[in-house]
């Protein structure tokens, strides 16, 4: 059962931000509602007003602007898994979206809602970190860009201010020789562990850049610079043999918590396994690309 609330339907970000400022804790942004309505039905939270942001024009688009892919906060997971620009430019992101939740949640839940809710057992944050994404937050009087790494503060907590909205996600196009992968594992409805990996090579066989992120295991997704250093400036083969060590470092950094999804130790082990598989996947894609 849902309690009665009032619905506001602003038609600009400014208007939505002003409503948030005016009503404070009594109001909340509503996008797809797949998280918010669940929490309200359970009686975990209660709001006098919901602010439907789906009437604000322009927030539901995916666009390629120069060498940046701009995704509004409002496309649903289904929109994203089917988007032709993303399929061509960011297949690892599309693959992740294809495997979020179930078909009904994907049809309604938005990317922005997923990120803003900051549920620990979520996929997009981890991928966005390795893709080098920036999130754009806007309120009535200002706009700022937040690197994905800095967006998540804790479980269910982001760095957004009370009257700020997430409006855009900006992802730089993949460098020509680079590859990315996101792998997850879980046996409940939501993932237990997720690992993102990005590798860029120089003209030869040396790894010029590496990014590793882990999610779901702990309270928030995280980049693991220390593990990345173990792969950088290595040949593909050297990096492959450094993976076990990188996996241990990443597992430790994940702050894994023992819960219904598995013990902390188990999740740490899975981080290592997924990192190895992600590396194999990217290397295989690279060699099949070079054969073409």
């Amino acid at each position: 059962m849902l309690r009665r609330f009032r619905l506001e339907e602003p038609e600009s970000v400014k208007e939505a931000s002003e409503l948030l400022a005016r009503h404070g804790e009594a109001a909340r942004i509503y996008a797809g509602g797949t998280e918010l309505l669940l929490a309200m039905k359970e009686g975990l939270v209660q709001y006098e007003r919901l602010i439907n942001v789906k009437k604000i024009p322009g927030l539901d688009q995916v666009k390629l602007e120069n060498s940046t892919i701009r995704i509004g906060a409002l496309p649903t997971h289904t929109n994203l898994e089917e988007d032709p620009v993303l399929k061509q430019k960011l297949p690892a992101f599309v693959q992740m979206e294809h495997n979020v939740a179930n078909v009904r949640v994907r049809a309604v839940g938005t990317l922005g809602g997923n990120l803003c809710f900051a549920e620990p057992h979520a996929d997009p944050g981890t991928v966005l970190m390795v893709l080098g994404a920036k999130l754009v937050a806007e309120k009535a009087s200002a706009k700022r860009e937040i690197p994905a790494e800095q967006f998540f503060v804790d479980a269910y907590e982001t760095c957004l201010e009370a009257d700020e909205l997430l409006t855009d996600i900006r992802i730089p196009a993949m460098p020509e020789r680079a590859g990315a992968a996101y792998l997850k594992f879980g046996y409940l409805e939501r993932p237990s562990v997720g690992v993102g990996l990005f590798i860029d090579w120089d003209q030869g066989d040396t790894i010029a850049d590496a990014r590793i992120a882990v999610g779901c295991a702990g309270p928030r997704p995280k980049r693991v610079a220390e593990a990345e250093e173990l792969l950088k400036r290595k040949s593909t083969k050297e990096a492959a043999s450094a993976l076990a060590r990188a996996g241990e470092v990443a597992a430790r950094a994940a702050d894994a918590i023992g819960d219904l999804h598995g013990s902390a130790e188990y999740k740490e082990h899975i981080v290592g396994v997924l990192l190895k598989r992600a590396f194999q996947q990217i290397s295989q894609q690279r060699s099949s690309k070079s054969q073409r």
Binding site: L2, R3, R4, F5, R6, L7, G33, T34, L37, L38, K41, L50, T78, H98, A101, N102, V103, R104, V105, A107, V108, E189
Partner: protein, 172 residues
């Protein structure tokens, strides 16, 4: 008393014009009303079932603009301007849809509680993809749970219906 009246005055009604099982409808809903309750209580289409209430099981699946969603967690006002299909809207002129027929012929249900949702989700899949692989069916149907039939017969029913629909499509 005064408070009660104030609350009543504040009640908000949203006009919703939409199509339900092919018929245009015009209703007023309050913001907090859920689609499942409107479908069941106002229209009497009780084939839409509430079970988990948390978007996990799929018993409450309806199609909105051809896509499956959980009516247990979907606000009714969002149906504005959209096309809603429940299991009651599937048979045409008294003739069952090939999916319904296949579920009967291949034993795709036992108690039947999950069946409306299963069939609607499968319809959405087959409308997008006339010839899905086994793996594609499993991925799409992953969020529809059955606690008694077992998934093998459900899969067979969907595959059989897909075949019937393809044969029918190639005849026209």
């Amino acid at each position: 008393m005064a408070e009660g009246r104030l609350k009543a005055e504040q009640r908000q009604f949203i006009p919703v014009t939409f199509t339900l099982n092919g018929k245009p409808q015009e209703i007023q809903v309050e913001p907090h009303e859920l689609l499942i309750d409107v479908i069941r209580n106002r229209f009497g289409f009780t084939g839409t079932k509430r079970s988990c209430d948390v978007q996990v099981c799929g018993a409450c699946t309806v199609l909105v603009d051809g896509r499956p969603l959980s009516s247990c967690t979907f606000l009714a006002f969002e149906a504005r301007g959209r096309d809603v299909l429940t299991i009651e809207g599937l048979a045409q002129n008294g003739k069952l849809h090939p999916l319904q027929q296949a579920f009967i012929e291949h034993g795709g249900f036992q108690c039947g509680f999950c069946t409306p949702g299963m069939i609607l989700a499968a319809k959405s899949l087959l409308d997008q993809n006339a010839n899905p692989t086994r793996q594609e069916i499993i991925h799409f149907m992953d969020g529809n749970i059955c606690r008694c039939t077992g998934y093998k017969k459900i899969l067979e029913s969907i595959q059989a219906a897909a075949k019937t629909l393809r044969q029918r499509g190639s005849r026209v």
